[in-house]
């Protein structure tokens, strides 16, 4: 699975409440994305384009179980690369089908606006501006399959556990 896109750069300890503020979590699903990062980057949700990639620092996605990964998918984010991603946010990425790669040290080598290429299957990310390539933490096959095939809702609908509906 190859993803190429323009980078939005965020720092260390970016939390789920910044991605999906409390005023957004109980709004109708379609209205939630515009609040993303409104506290730390006002106006960002209007600037982000389909296929863009977020590069975070350490501990990207710390915090709550709220569906912040889904909000970023709704905004068109195609993948997340961060120096480290805590378990809860990583699980939400896997289960919503958001490609997410942990790659220690990559953050420092990227500028906002760079175009990067991620080979998720090989857990490798390349900065096309500098040509520099990094190997991230290898994503186990079982998780890679779930992450790259749209997550758990489709799986559960296929297997007859859920009434079919749009993933939420």
């Amino acid at each position: 699975m190859l993803v190429t896109g323009r980078v939005w750069k965020f720092g260390d300890n970016i939390n789920t409440d910044l991605m999906q503020p409390v005023e957004a979590i109980l709004k109708p699903v379609d209205e939630q994305p515009r609040y993303a990062f409104s506290a730390n980057r006002p106006g960002w949700s209007d600037l982000v384009r389909q296929g863009d990639i977020i590069v975070g620092g350490r501990n990207f996605g710390t915090g709550s179980g709220r569906p912040a990964a889904r909000v970023l998918l709704q905004l068109g984010i195609a993948a997340i690369v961060a120096d480290s991603i805590p378990g809860l946010f990583f699980r939400n990425c896997v289960n919503y089908g958001m490609p997410a790669l942990q790659c220690a040290g990559f953050h420092a080598s990227v500028d906002e606006g760079d175009v990067i290429e991620i080979n998720l299957g090989q857990s490798r990310v390349t900065n096309t501006r500098t040509g520099q390539a990094f190997d991230g933490t290898k994503i186990p096959e079982q998780l890679f399959r779930l992450m790259s095939s749209g997550g758990v809702f489709r799986l559960l609908e296929r297997e007859g556990f859920l009434e079919p509906e749009a993933a939420g």
Binding site: L26, P86, L88, F153, L155, G168
Partner: protein
């Protein structure tokens, strides 16, 4: 192969003789806790079938009683689910109401040596009972409810050895803030707490420490099941359980010793607890508009007791709103019986019914722009308790109570113990 506590619990749940860091293990989930949020629009998925109603617990906690139509509809959806699938272990609005992690502890849903799943990030709270518990997010809770299984990516473990004696005016919250300040985030690491000082910590104090580990992004946190834990659980459930202890020679990424005698009251500055706390003296004089004691971390009877002790025959400053939210209605009732509620109300506190409430910025204590709060709850992210332009400092219930009296962040040792 010698294993850590976490590895042994995972191995048991996976039906394997051993697991090691880096592996994916597929496990049966022993206890599945659904809360009101699972039944909200945007979260809820209609099930055709579920794995096992005997393993499911339903607890309404985040917005109870319902504050609006949307909340009311979510609870109704939850009640339909409970009825349709015949769920017995239920905590609806009423006398059995409470914050899920408090009830998971008090009702012994957290069985030593078992695996427990819930949507909420503070589910790691149950680690105080040697239970491998964590927040999962909504899609995964739907998956686990349907299939009864999940996967874990086995992480390395950091062991904390707690030694020495804690001063009476210092609490588990201060221990946590000290660890978070010194060692930063623990993303992709498990944490085990052991050591001679654990025995002196109440189950409530251990749970505060375990709950707060969510704030440093641990994968799992577990304590050993000592006699206190085993007696607590045996007195409350007939379900079988098998505590797990680390093997001699288990491999740790790091072993760190914390001397509890050296810890003083700590305060976290707004937005994060990661490397962001200092001794309370350095925050002295910071004025506050709101003070909050509650949540799954600090709504215990111990927390209400220390607040009442400090506030007895004193008054909350006229410029401060003090909100106290017991962790469960059972705790509330006991606090009434012991006179804590009378003391708190006489001092000027607002004591609310049990819910996540102000901690999650959802209702009963939301902050406006420009307001400053000191909280004994779980989380101080920007915007967590309301406006992103509000500031959230964090301290122990004692520090919060002392600050409420002074109208500014204050050292609880002025009111109890130590220096007079």
């Amino acid at each position: 192969m010698a294993m850590t506590m976490v590895e042994k619990i995972l191995a048991r749940a996976a039906g394997r003789t051993a697991v090691k860091p880096g592996e994916i293990v597929n496990v049966a989930v022993d206890t599945t806790v659904l809360i009101d949020l699972n039944f909200y629009h945007g979260y809820w998925h209609e099930f055709k079938k579920i794995a096992d109603s005997e393993r499911v617990v339903v607890i309404f906690d985040h917005i109870v009683p319902p504050k609006d139509l949307q909340s009311a509809e979510a609870l109704k959806r939850g009640r339909n689910f409970i009825k349709r699938f015949g769920i017995d272990r239920v905590h609806d609005v009423g006398p059995r109401m409470g914050i899920s992690h408090q009830l998971i502890a008090d009702e012994a849903y957290a069985l030593p040596g078992s695996v427990l799943a819930c949507i909420d990030s503070h589910t790691c709270s149950a680690g105080a009972f040697n239970c491998l518990a964590r927040g999962m997010g909504n899609p995964e809770m739907v998956f686990i409810t349907a299939k009864g299984t999940t996967w874990f990516w086995v992480a390395e473990t950091i062991q904390y050895r707690l030694e020495g004696t804690l001063s009476p005016e210092v609490s588990a919250k201060d221990i946590f803030l000290r660890i978070a300040n010194e060692y930063g985030d623990h993303a992709n690491y498990n944490v085990e707490f052991v050591g001679s000082a654990i025995a002196q910590l109440s189950l409530n104090a251990r749970r505060t420490l375990a709950t707060m580990c969510s704030e440093i992004s641990v994968e799992f946190v577990v304590f050993e099941a000592d006699s206190k834990v085993v007696e607590h659980v045996r007195a409350r459930t007939a379900r079988p359980f098998e505590p797990q202890f680390a093997d001699a020679g288990a491999r740790y990424a790091n072993i760190r010793t914390i001397d509890l005698a050296a810890i003083e009251p700590m305060v976290a500055w707004p937005d994060s607890v990661v490397r962001n706390s200092r001794p309370v003296g350095e925050a002295r004089g910071v004025s506050i508009d709101q003070a909050f004691i509650g949540s799954c971390a600090n709504g215990t009877l111990d927390d209400l007791a220390v607040a009442a002790q400090i506030l007895k025959d004193r008054k909350v400053a006229s410029t401060v709103t003090l909100i106290v939210t017991p962790g469960s209605q059972a705790i509330y009732a006991e606090a009434v019986k012991r006179g804590y509620v009378e003391t708190l109300v006489a001092a000027g506190a607002v004591v609310t019914s049990s819910t996540c409430g102000a901690c999650a910025g959802l209702h009963m204590g939301v902050l406006a722009a420009g307001e400053r709060c000191i909280t004994a709850s779980t989380r101080n992210f920007r915007g967590r308790m309301g406006s992103p332009e509000a500031e959230i400092f964090m301290g122990s219930p004692a520090t919060v109570a002392a600050s409420a009296i002074r109208g500014e962040i204050a050292d609880p040792r002025q009111f109890i113990g130590g220096r007079g």
